[in-house]
């Protein structure tokens, strides 16, 4: 499944250059969520190059990226995998509008100590 429109959108939204990837795998070597992601960061990059965006969107891997920038920091080619993953997450969100965490559910997960940032990230970044 190739979708070049979606691919262009990913590149535009992320501002990243997946084509610069030389397939060394350093992003996946350094990723703290590697074992939680069914599609690893290096595969994200390669699949974007190949235009396989729908598959990436169907995967739940995006929800496990911590946006910790370890892959961005250590990538020798300046590819910025985290930005690519985020772009897919954003596109997914804009396309479906469904949310992972609904306001009604909040009461069940919230505790008094949760900092605001964690809630914001849960709503905005990870709601799908």
């Amino acid at each position: 499944m190739h979708n070049n429109n979606l691919k262009d959108e990913v590149i535009r939204i992320s501002g990243a250059s997946p084509i610069k990837c030389m397939k060394c795998g350093k992003c996946s070597a350094t990723c703290p969520s590697f074992n939680d992601m069914e599609i690893a960061p290096h595969m994200f990059v390669d699949m974007v190059v190949k235009g396989r965006i729908e598959e990436l969107m169907a995967s739940n891997a995006t929800a496990h990226c911590l946006s910790c920038f370890a892959c961005v920091e250590r990538c020798p080619r300046g590819v910025e995998p985290a930005n690519i993953i985020e772009a897919i997450r954003v596109i997914k969100l804009r396309k479906s509008g469904s949310v992972q965490l609904t306001p009604a559910q909040i009461a069940s997960v919230i505790d008094t100590e949760i900092p605001q940032q964690a809630l914001v990230s849960a709503f905005r970044k990870f709601r799908k």
Partner: protein, 662 residues
């Protein structure tokens, strides 16, 4: 007005089939200055050439136009032919009516019209030609080699063998360069010292070679055939001629805490020292930074024990000035600093080392006597992990965008040597690609895997950290798609190599160009790979780009042959098609100077007689030995003071004029 003769070649039917020769001849005769025109079947044949010679003599021609094939084919032939009858070769112009006309057009009428236009353009140009005479410049029969590593030594030896004198200037106290630090060489695994040290001895003992060590070239002036170099010979504080290299001074020196550069700081040395056992010259040198006598005016123990009284604390730097006909750059490389790759823990863990450090650890003459031990505690390692491409193929600010070329092979060598000597050690290698083009290279890599059991992992390492007395190497294995954690005792980083920092300074001194990575640029990647675009400057070894030892030696020999080819000449003939200044027009604005890629334009304050006004003006002067005739300067010059002989503004405009006339 010139008397011009026009010869139109049929080239059998190659031209004659599409171009009406008679019409071209008839049209040429109508052009101003043309006193004769004729057609002939094959102008390049001996008969054709003699036809031209006869006509030159009979009609007293002072310009000739040949309408024939491409000038790239026979321009030289016809110019030589003109010379045989005393006509200046640059009074011959070619109109290309074959490749640019008859061969591409089918319509004879169109072909003929175009051939006439091309002939007219050549006639217009030749009528503005002036006889040009090639210049000559002398050649100093001595070469300078900058850098005394394997590249510089090989070049020097080859030049010296051909009978020319060579000076090798080496910045360090000994020649030998990086290769002297290496233990074994791939793919044959012979010991580096066994092949390098005999060459060092040969160079030292060769009657045509002078080794100027512990010295740097400070400035170079002049041009091909006659360079003048200023060399600073730094004070060693030890008389090179009297020191016997006995080493007594070293055993007495109380200052023993300086890092031993030769062993990359893995052990310490004294303040007075001989860099390594086979150093050439085998003479001590004093490190002025740590010497107690030189820093605090105490001690002086070495001086008192030296039996030949070679030590002189008052020694000063010495300036040597020499003339050379050719200069070879062989400044070599250094591994990059890997501190910036701190996820790999080089600055945080002693047992994370670079490949060159591993060479010293495995070298029998190294700090451990060749016994491979952990740097941290001297114990025997059981697991070693290699990481390739540290800083190579890296387009971020901390690395180099290019492939360092040698790391795949030396990592393979290291892995193999370790497995051979210590079969109990497990060796893992993280790689992105294994690049082994070269004779017996891939076989070598396969042997490491198949015969020596080295474990290659396709992937990269994200983090190296210490835990439970081991180094944990966290990496990816792209084949199994896993994130893996390998426990290791040592981690070896295959750091990228970069040009020696001196290369940039040397290049600008020589007006030789360098690329964005500070490698020196060759004149042509395929046709002139060992020459710099600046005439008389040659390139040897890694200063031009990453190379292994076999390639370096081959290139060093090639550079030497180019130098010999230059030095063997008594005079250099310079092309007369060069830029020239009209001194009355030049205003000295420097536009031409700024644009010249060869540093061929300089400025002189000249006394000018401008229609009776005598005054000193700043005038651009073209050095005919350096100018290559590209003409960029003539366009940069707004007043038209700078022009290109053979392709003057007026000549080209005359061609334009002839072609555009309807």
């Amino acid at each position: 007005m010139l008397k011009i003769g026009v010869f139109v070649c049929w080239c059998g039917s190659n031209i004659a089939a599409t171009v009406d020769i008679d019409q071209v001849v008839a049209a040429a005769k109508l052009q101003p200055g043309v006193v004769m025109a004729t057609g002939y079947q094959y102008m390049c044949s001996e008969n054709g050439q003699s036809l031209m010679r006869k006509a030159v003599e009979e009609y007293k021609l002072d310009g000739v136009v040949i309408c024939a094939c491409s000038p790239r084919m026979h321009e030289a032939t016809f110019r030589k032919n003109a010379q045989r009858v005393g006509l200046n070769p640059f009074m011959v112009e070619i109109a290309n009516i074959r490749e640019h006309c008859s061969w591409i057009h089918k319509d004879k009428e169109q072909g003929t019209i175009k051939a006439i236009a091309l002939a007219n353009a050549a006639i217009a140009k030749v009528s503005l030609n002036a006889p040009l005479i090639s210049g000559e410049s002398s050649v100093t029969k001595r070469a300078l080699v900058i850098g005394g590593g394997i590249a510089g030594l090989q070049t020097a030896l080859d030049i010296a063998e051909a009978g020319f004198e060579v000076d090798v200037v080496e910045r360090q106290a000994t020649i030998g360069g990086n290769m002297a630090k290496i233990d074994k060489t791939f793919p044959t695994l012979d010991c580096a010292a066994c092949i390098l040290t005999p060459k060092m001895v040969d160079a030292a003992s060769h009657e045509n070679i002078e080794l100027i060590t512990y010295s740097e070239v400070e400035s170079v002036k002049g041009f091909v055939g006659s360079f003048k170099a200023t060399i600073r010979k730094k004070a060693r504080y030890v008389n090179e001629k009297t020191c016997t290299g006995c080493g007594l001074c070293m055993s007495k020196c109380p200052s023993k805490k300086s890092k031993n550069e030769f062993n990359l700081g893995l052990d310490n040395r004294t303040s007075i020292f001989i860099p390594f056992a086979q150093a050439i010259p085998n003479v001590a040198v004093i490190d002025p930074q740590s010497c107690i006598k030189l820093t605090r005016d105490k001690c002086g123990l070495c001086q008192s024990v030296c039996e030949v009284k070679a030590i002189d604390f008052t020694m000063q730097d010495e300036i040597i000035e020499r003339e050379y006909g050719a200069i070879v750059v062989a400044t070599g490389f250094k591994p990059i600093e890997v501190d910036a790759f701190d996820e790999l823990g080089y600055t945080q863990n002693k047992d994370v080392i670079t490949s060159l450090e591993l060479e010293r650890l495995m070298n029998a003459a190294g700090p451990t006597g060749g016994k491979l031990v952990k740097v941290s505690d001297g114990s025997h390692p059981t697991d070693i992990t290699f990481i390739q491409c540290v800083g190579s193929r890296d387009c971020t600010s901390r690395g180099k965008e290019y492939c360092s070329k040698i790391c795949c092979m030396y990592t393979c060598k290291h892995a193999m040597l370790i497995r051979d000597k210590y079969p109990d050690i497990n060796v893992n290698v993280f790689y992105i690609d294994v690049r082994t083009p070269g004779k017996n290279y891939d076989e070598f890599y396969r042997r490491a895997v198949e015969d020596f059991g080295v474990n290659y992992i396709k992937g990269q390492v994200g983090k190296v950290y210490a835990e439970d007395g081991k180094l944990i190497v966290q990496g990816s294995d792209l084949i199994t798609n896993e994130q893996i954690f390998i426990k290791s005792d040592m981690v070896v980083l295959a750091s990228a190599i970069e040009p020696d920092p001196s290369a940039k300074k040397v290049a600008s001194m020589l007006t030789a160009s360098i690329d964005t990575n500070n490698f020196l640029t060759e004149a042509h990647a395929k046709l002139r790979p060992v020459e710099s675009p600046t005439a008389g400057i040659f390139l040897s070894g890694v200063c031009q780009g990453p190379k292994d030892i076999p390639e370096t030696v081959a290139q060093a020999g090639a550079a030497a042959s180019k130098v010999i080819g230059l030095l063997v000449k008594n005079k250099l003939v310079t092309s007369p098609c060069i830029a020239t200044t009209d001194e009355l027009l030049c205003s000295g604005c420097s536009n031409c100077f700024n644009i010249c890629p060869y540093g061929a334009i300089g400025y002189e304050d000249k006394l000018i007689n401008d229609h009776g006004i005598r005054e000193t003006r700043r005038i651009a002067v073209v050095n005919p030995a350096l100018c290559q005739g590209c003409g960029a300067c003539s366009v940069a010059c707004p007043s038209g003071a700078m022009d290109l002989l053979g392709y003057t503004n007026k000549q080209i405009m005359a061609e334009v004029d002839a072609i555009c006339k309807r």
